[in-house]
Amino acid sequence: MKDFKEVSLGFTEEEAVREAQRCIACKKKPCCNGCPVEIDIPEFIRLVARKDYKGAIRKIKEKNNLPAVCGRVCPQETQCEALCVLIGKGKGGPVAIGALERFVADLEAAHPEWKDAAAAKENKNIKVAVVGSGPAGLTAAADLAKYGYQVTLFESLSASGGVLRYGIPEFRLPRAILDRETGYIESLGVEIKCNILIGRTVTLSGLFEDGYKAIFLGTGAGLPYFLGIPGESLNGVYSANEFLTRVNLMHAYEFPKYKTPVKIGERVAVVGAGNTAMDCVRVAKRLGAQDAIIVYRRGEPEAPARRAEIEHAKEEGIEFRFLTAPIKIEGNEKGEVKSMTCLKMELGEPDASGRRRPIPIRGSEYEMPVDTVIIAVGQGPNPLIAHTTKELAVDDKSGELKIDENCMTSMKGVFAGGDITTGEGTVIAAMGAGKKAAAAMDSYLKGA
């Protein structure tokens, strides 16, 4: 496994139509309740079954501005598909809604003539700013453009997409597809400006001075958590964000053609078992690690990653050490990682998260030789915007921006949504928040 080509292959037309025909068009449409951006799922599936693919993608895009992304990275198995009435009826499980969404989104790419005129019907001549071009920001920007606002989307990195760009690897979300989705957002009239860090390059009050009438903050969960164990400053310990940014955004896998390095050695331990941890461990394997190992303090059933990601990792030869908790990292005389000491765990009673609490087994300590440790145990809300904007009220404990029921922060005209207000969540939850905030901003601006 050395290449970064996409791992999951999509449906053929025949497969897609056959799958779409399995939908019984039930009356209650429970699947729709599982979709944070409220796609009319049965209707788009009906159009696929009738081979009206152009109609199907238009139906999806009425609500979802990033279908090719969602078709790939949404956890449909816990959302729309989990509510499908076909489950448990001995009829082959739920309709593969995600795969169908991806099928029509990918088909659209091959048919530029389908380009819809979803762009604004009216130009309101009102400037609005969206900060952060991840899932929340892209969605808010697209919806605001559709409402008729002049939208500028500010991104601090050199390319748009946020976590979709720096975080999710090519083999799960190809760059070409992401570029196409952001290109669609631009085609709606959104101007994307990269290399601008709002809060530093321009302050929020500066944006108002510049004539923006409302601002959406979708700055995400960019603050990496560490374990707080000895040895985390040793050379060879990366945060998941650093490791993935080096590889995905800066192309370190093509070093030295691309000048940003990444160094992994032969044995790589990734601490954590979420989707980000799976991304890290699979990237490490592709970069040539002989052993790429997931170390997780709970058991496999408790792992937060999607089942499909864990299965892909297993197929690629990733080693899993469940019920294993690192307690320190040791280095050599040059300050480089040489091993990680772990404790074996057993599961006790459920904790606040509802998952069974891991308890250390006495005397189970052992040393695991490794060259690299990647910490993938989650991220907190990015503190920069609150740090540089004293008017923004922040939850003391979580660091999340406080918003009211209309998605507005403590600063008038400044709205927020996505991971910056909820802590780390899914792509689709952030998109749902961006959509809701865009509607709230529209009401606010109409009243203003």
Partner: protein, 269 residues
């Protein structure tokens, strides 16, 4: 794209570039930096904003040729362009009326303190600048510092110019002769450590500007993490300036060496 409007060679290996970056200027303050990415293939590297020219919309970058990325930047000519410049980043230097402030710059580090010297002087401080380098050729911005500081002392390791010795030798002399209320220091890590050590017996507040390896420089990747009074801090957003007494310089030195092999390889290509 950011066009280079002026280039000046300050020393064999030290280049000054004036670059168009009108957006960066608006909020730029002393002590802040930018992230520069020369082209599609380049690294993101941090460079201090050494000066701003509001009428021309330019910032001044002073670059010492050390590795691949700095070599490529130093090779640029007036009229060439830099693809991305992000900033201003980091917390600005704290500027108040402290009394007597000694600015201590080692090598190219001196350039990074020029705007602070200027701002401190404007705020009514007595500013003494010590500029140190290995030899005469590497002494930069002497005239510029003379124009803003009350006193400028030059030290060279080999005695080819100014006082023979280290910046700490000059600092000791100053401290012996008068009250110093604050020291601000930028340069190689061993030098910043030595300056902090020199100041410590006199308990003079000493601010150091750290030069950790950065990546996104917006607080997202933690590659620049350093230990400040036993706590992990990010140099990019919590710094780049810290109380020198609290910095674990030895750890920073080790961390800054972590891509030495790769830097060598990149330089060979």
């Amino acid at each position: 794209m950011h066009r280079i409007v002026e280039k000046k060679q300050l020393a064999d290996t030290i280049t000054l570039l004036k670059v168009e970056a009108p957006l960066v200027i608006r909020e730029a303050r002393a002590g802040q930096f930018v992230i520069v990415r020369l082209d599609e293939f380049a690294e993101r590297i941090p460079l201090t904003i050494c000066d701003t020219d509001r009428s021309r919309g330019t910032i001044t970058l002073i670059i010492q040729q050390l590795g691949r990325s700095t070599k490529d930047l130093c090779a640029l000519k007036a009229g060439n362009s830099i693809q991305d410049i992000l900033g201003p980043l980091g917390n600005p230097t704290e500027i108040e009326k402290f009394g007597t402030v000694v600015i201590t710059g080692g090598g190219v580090g001196a350039a990074e303190l020029y705007t602070a010297a200027k701002a401190l002087k404007e705020n009514g401080n007595k500013v003494i600048a010590i500029i140190g380098a290995r030899n005469k050729d590497l002494i930069i911005l002497e005239d510029e510092f003379k124009a803003v500081a009350d006193e400028v002392l030059i030290t060279t390791d080999d005695g080819s110019y100014g006082m023979k010795g280290l910046v700490t030798d000059a600092l000791k002399k100053i401290i012996a002769g008068q009250t110093v209320n604050r020291i601000i220091c930028c340069g190689p890590i061993p030098m910043m450590k030595a300056v902090t050590g020199t100041a410590r017996p006199y308990n003079i507040p000493t601010i150091v500007s750290l030069n950790a390896i950065l990546l996104d420089a917006t607080g997202m990747c933690a590659t620049c993490r350093c230990t400040i009074e036993g706590k992990v801090r990010f140099s990019c957003v919590d710094g780049p300036e810290f109380d020198g007494y609290k910095v674990d310089f030895d750890e920073l030195m080790v961390r800054n060496n972590r891509f030495l092999e790769e830097e060598k390889r990149a330089l060979e290509t």
